[in-house]
């Protein structure tokens, strides 16, 4: 058994999440608890809801934090909307789109998979074709930021198609929220879920979640109750959204303290500055990685600013370098999932992790490992490429 006071090894978290957490958020976690029905805690909930509406860029009254991780948010978005027999068109171009389709089927829904190669976006035309062919369609579900591939899915044309076909629009913003625009109201997104441990830089355990009035009406018009009691938004509304603050389940109080503080830091920075920071650091990172022969998997124009997925060419020993980064440099980056296992690295610059210092630290460590492995002879090339991006922006 470990010693009483557990001191974790130092880690720079540059994987696909969790991201680095600000000291003030860690401090908020250790605030003494209030009861989940205490008026002082209910005020915290109001505050969180208001701040979540800010990052979601929405006026949706039903904007809450689900008591589970981003995957619970994904499940909630499907189990509340989909009833047995409903058709849902799902964009599948990575692990999380695949999972969305699986969950639709576990609800007894019919998942129409619109597939694209991993790393590519799902073309709106393909969604349109599916909408035309599938008959009455309850919803279109798509992943905004595919964490398994680094692809950045354009939402606007699909949102328009959903309006045209009077279909609900479900968006996975797990990795994008707080790092790139997630414009719920402007685009008319009906259901959107995220996670706390990505660009919000809060520990994992909660799923920010918002529902349009149209989605709420669909939930209220269900023929059968939601198959999940824990994630039943018709019930959860009574605690979070409808003012009654009636007991449903005990809220994860400490995590909500942390989320409030994380959202406060987001607000302090401001969304435009935050998005620009993510974009800049990602460009510098990519410039450096390219110098090392590591090319982004998604095509230019569709690369996420908070998650860079690069192919790892032969003969670089993918897992070995990643293990060295962790053990020698204390830097965590992610490997590939599913068909990309052993073939890519996923580097997250999310929230607190997205800084110039972290980009340079990672590139420097990679250079050293590549030099040691014989794949690179001149130190500093990647750093120089990154520096050029930063100086261009600074001038």
């Amino acid at each position: 058994m470990p010693a009483q006071n557990f001191t974790p090894p130092r880690r720079l978290l540059l994987g696909p999440g969790p991201s680095m957490v600000h000291q003030q958020v860690l401090r908020a976690l250790s605030t003494p608890l209030l009861g989940h029905l205490d008026p002082a805690f209910l005020a915290i909930m109001d505050d969180i809801q208001a701040r979540l509406r800010g990052v979601f860029q929405t006026k949706n009254h039903f904007t809450i934090a689900i008591s589970g991780t981003g995957s619970a948010g994904m499940e909630a978005s499907i189990v509340n909307i989909v009833e047995p027999g409903d058709t849902v068109i799902v964009g599948v171009n990575g692990l999380f789109g695949t999972r969305l389709a699986t969950i639709v089927e576990r609800c007894g829904g019919k998942a129409v998979r619109v597939e694209a190669p991993w790393g590519q976006i799902v073309e709106p035309e393909a969604i349109e074709t599916a909408l035309r062919r599938s008959g009455p369609t309850k919803a279109v579900a798509i992943v905004h930021a595919e964490t398994s591939t680094g692809a950045w899915q354009p939402l606007e044309p699909i949102a328009q198609l959903c309006r045209d076909h009077d279909t609900l629009f479900i968006v996975d913003a797990v990795t994008s929220l707080g790092g790139a625009p997630v414009e719920i109201d402007r685009l008319g997104i009906d259901v959107c879920y995220s996670a706390t441990q990505k660009c919000l830089s809060c520990p994992p355990g909660l799923s920010p979640f918002t529902l349009s009035d149209r989605a709420l009406a669909a939930i209220k018009a269900r023929r059968s109750p939601c198959q999940s009691w824990y994630l039943d938004m018709a019930l959860i509304a009574e605690y979070w959204a409808e003012g009654a603050r009636a007991y449903h389940h005990t809220a994860p109080i400490s995590m909500l303290y942390a989320l409030r503080e994380a959202l406060r830091l987001v607000e302090e920075e401001g969304l435009p500055a935050r998005f620009a920071r993510h974009q800049l650091n990602s460009e510098a990172l990519i410039a450096g990685l390219i110098e090392l022969g590591l090319f982004p998997l998604p095509p230019a124009g569709h690369r996420l600013p908070m998650l860079t997925c690069v192919t790892v060419p032969h003969p670089i020993p993918e897992a070995e370098v990643r293990a060295d980064l962790l053990s020698t440099y204390g830097i965590e980056i992610g490997g590939g999932l599913g068909p990309l296992k052993g073939k890519v690295w996923r580097i997250g610059l999310m929230g607190e992790s997205s800084t110039e210092a972290h980009v340079l630290t990672l590139l420097n460590a990679l250079e050293q490992l590549f030099i040691r492995g014989g794949g690179l002879s001149t130190p500093g090339v990647a750093l120089q490429a990154a520096a050029r991006v930063y100086s261009r922006r600074a001038s």
Copy 2:
């Protein structure tokens, strides 16, 4: 919007949960994060699993913490075991038994409700009759510690019936785990879930959960996949229980740090000493409450040692006194739920909340409020009754 550094009002948490959290557990929450696949974090998970087996008094390999509150644990216990058409006998003598039956039905199962008045236990004979009449029965589900009524359900005779009828035994130990014996292996309980914010005195957000090999075999023999993806134990086993540590969803890292520390404190005290402490403080509390005319709802012999539910007689203004306790004394106790709303108080002495000092503080505050309200003339009678219990034990 509240100020930057949120300082919650001081609270003594003596309601039905959350309970008070030890300073070291709060400190553990603020430990910097590791990735959920970091070898150093996987060692933390191993440690948590070993310690959870200790409090559950089990050798079950599949002993984990679910990434959700106790209600998620309840849902997980049902959705993994019950398939459409399965019969489940559910003991219903309070809110949580009622909820269990609802969740069985949301799985397409047939819930056979064996009812008893709120505050009473479910008689094993009634379960036996239901087992005889219901034909093939997948499981019997019962609440060990009914948080809505304070009733302490004997498990042993029902466990025996389950063995005799070759039926799985599902037990809700949300409020009992860590405060009273939950003997998984000795009784042969197949599925058991709990929560962190009760007698384990950790913040809410996780659900300790254990499965017997028999339950696991039933899950592996399912005809259809679990309707929940998030709570699908066949998938979660790959991350938590089967050594592969394969990604399913991002573990709630900070909460798991806290749980590990809370479990360490439980182990440091030792289960027998901890159970005795809960029993003693509960007896002292009840002795004091009776002096104030507040009698426990459940009959003697079936009163929980960590949650005392007393009826509030006319003309005591139930909600008003409770609000005064909170605003004037900073003490939280719980009101009644469902049919008991406005009629009872639920006083939790769970984990860190179960101390002599807290019992005396609460009784003193109640005496003062009762004197002010004209319902009591002699100060100190409740305190004296409690003191008699403590001195009897000390001698």
